[in-house]
Amino acid sequence: MEPEYIAWYEVILYTITRFWPTWLSIAVTLAVGYRYRNRLGTFGRLYDSRIGMAGVVIVLFWVFTAIWADVIAQMGPLEQSFAGGIKRGAPGIIDPESNIVFLWGGDNLARDIFSRVVYGCRVVLIIAPSATLIAYMVGSTLGLPAGYFLGWSDTLFSFLANLILAFPVILLFYLLVTPEVQLAVPVEIGPFTIPWSIPIALAAVFLLFPILFLCAMWFTRYEQAPKKMWSYLGVTAVVGLWLYFGLVFGLDMIKGIGGGFLSETEIGATSGLVVFTALLIIIYVPIPNRPTRHLEAGIAAVACWAYFGPVFGGEPLDAIQLAPNELNIFAAVILGSSPGVFRIVRGITMDIKTRDYVAAAQTRGERSWYIMLWEILPNARGPLIVDFCLRIGYTTILLGTLGFFGLGLQPESPDWGSMINHGRPFVRLADTAHLALFPAIALMTLVLGLNLLADGLREESLKD
């Protein structure tokens, strides 16, 4: 039986309606944001910039698509159709068995490209921003002292940064992500057996920086209030180390301790609660009377829920533990983007340290690290936020490049780079071009949104 197709305008129409949770969420977010725009600082002023607004809408589109992926997608990312003709079927093909419309066609294994792009969005939006965030912490922790003290630390760190920048990224990835290099060797340290390989070692170094960074922040800020300081340091150390060992070595402490009497779902729920509580403490306490803190707490709650949503949905610990492949590309991407962050933080630090308020803090006899973390860094936030948006886009591109060469995640992963890679052999025929075309367009729009957002933010922050 020949499969039937729906018309091209129906494809467009159905595609738009499929994304209804996304549209609804964007509308609500924009409306709420507009209501509180005066309290949102630079973000609120984005409403005046058309370019910035376009960026916000595109980025929100993909963020909410990632959150609502389960509702939007019609099939699972790995689900195949066994009806005839679906394999590499053109957009709008109807599966005669299940009556599901393959809006963007079927891929080489008769999977729904639409659903895979939607799920791929989740993969991309988890890895790219978090890798960028960690790259930022690594870059700041090294860039601040390099720019502030200059001297040997500057020479050393700049040399290392230039070393990585001089390396053709793609060669680095080929060397780092080949199966032979990433093969983990078990190493016994006391009672624990931990896996060890070059990417794991890199991740072990990089993921230590966020903990160090936060601890340094609390220590310098609350040195005069030891009680507060120790409580913060304690929370950071406990949560940080728990996440650290879970992510890097796959050792989950809550699972280890509670594994005997808690169910998987309960362990997942506890993990989510621990992280959420820590976020709340961190958001509420340090800067009291900050007008936007309720909003931030709200955002944190939504983010937590989105991040740990799968946990409560019966996929425990999905967010805490990374597959070995994910850890490798995580490390590779952080390695690729930290030197850039280092350079920009160093440059801004060298500029800001000549300001009067820094001189005032030095005269007060503040610690150097206090000046760096609490005087220079907050005042550098404007250009850094802009760069952060740009860099998420760059990381997304990097991730796509890895996927394009088949070096990224598992081959069946729905991330956009891998999808482009799988669709590449079929792109030279008009009938099968959609295999690579849709993920390519998705990747381009996400990066475009981030770049437009960054441009809008830059324009608005220049108006100060």
Binding site: F159, L175, L443
Partner: protein, 353 residues
Amino acid sequence: MLMFILRRTGTMLATMVALTVIVFYMVNLPGNLEKLAKTEGNMRMTDEQVEQWLENEGFNRPFLTRYAEWLGVVPASVWVREGQPFGPGLSCLSEEEQAALVAEGPEATTSAFCGTIQGAMGWSRVFRKPVAEVVGERLGHTGILMFWVMIVMIPMSLTIGILAGMREGTGLDRGLSVASIATTSAPEYVTGIIFTVIFASGLGWLKGIAKAGDVTFENFTLPVMTMALYGMGYIARLTRASMVEVMTSHYIRTARLKGLNFRTVVLKHALRNALITPFTVIMLQFPWLLTGVVVVEAMFNYKGFGFALIQAAGNNDIDLLLAISWVAVIVVLLTQLISDIGYAYLNPRIRVK
């Protein structure tokens, strides 16, 4: 100035050594060597056979010795095993010398300087040719591609940037700026796919595959367009920013007040100063274009340097990989040096101490 160049050259050498040590270390990891042994011998080798092969080829000797031999600062050894000469210095011995060594007996060893510094880059196991030959040929192909990319990219991006920055805030500026942002958002593997779909699969005007060494419109347009487009937006935006800065400066206002027309002001007064930043950036684009080259060559099956990199990395062709990283690092560092010196030379305000 001389001190500056000397210091930069020193850093460059240190960077080169550090990078090649890293690459040397990574291609020589046990897993990679095992793979190499199995592709060279046969796939069903036992662990002992692999060990024997590595022993024969000399991969079991200390890391630093082997690195120094590869670099060419110590003579590379050659030895005889089972009546056959082996070792890293082998390719620098003539047939007669090899025969003489084998005739000497099973324990005979000799050595010869046979490293990268001497120009002996080794033997490519994938292409079954000397590495120098492979790299030379492939670099030539890529050079032609890059030449056309530059020819297309630089004038277009500078024009777009100058047009946009000339009158800040106008409709033209906004339009061009958004267009440049759009091009920077589309990496090569995205534009390549989209262009192939439109121009090759859809309209059939161009070829989806680019044959190396055949410079025709049909053949070259897609890869050149794909690569030029991604870099264009970035340079255009920098040119625009630099142009905007120059156009708001006092001397331009003076020139305007003097009664010169806008055209003369832009072409004679603003342009020169506005092009200093883009110049350095264009030079710094090279390392980044290198990644682009790999993507584009993979996508269009263009048998150039980038394609060789993929094949070398995929098959752990140690000598070729090392030569490729060596060349890539030299290109990157040289362009950085030229960009620094050029910047100091072009901008009279910057005098390097």
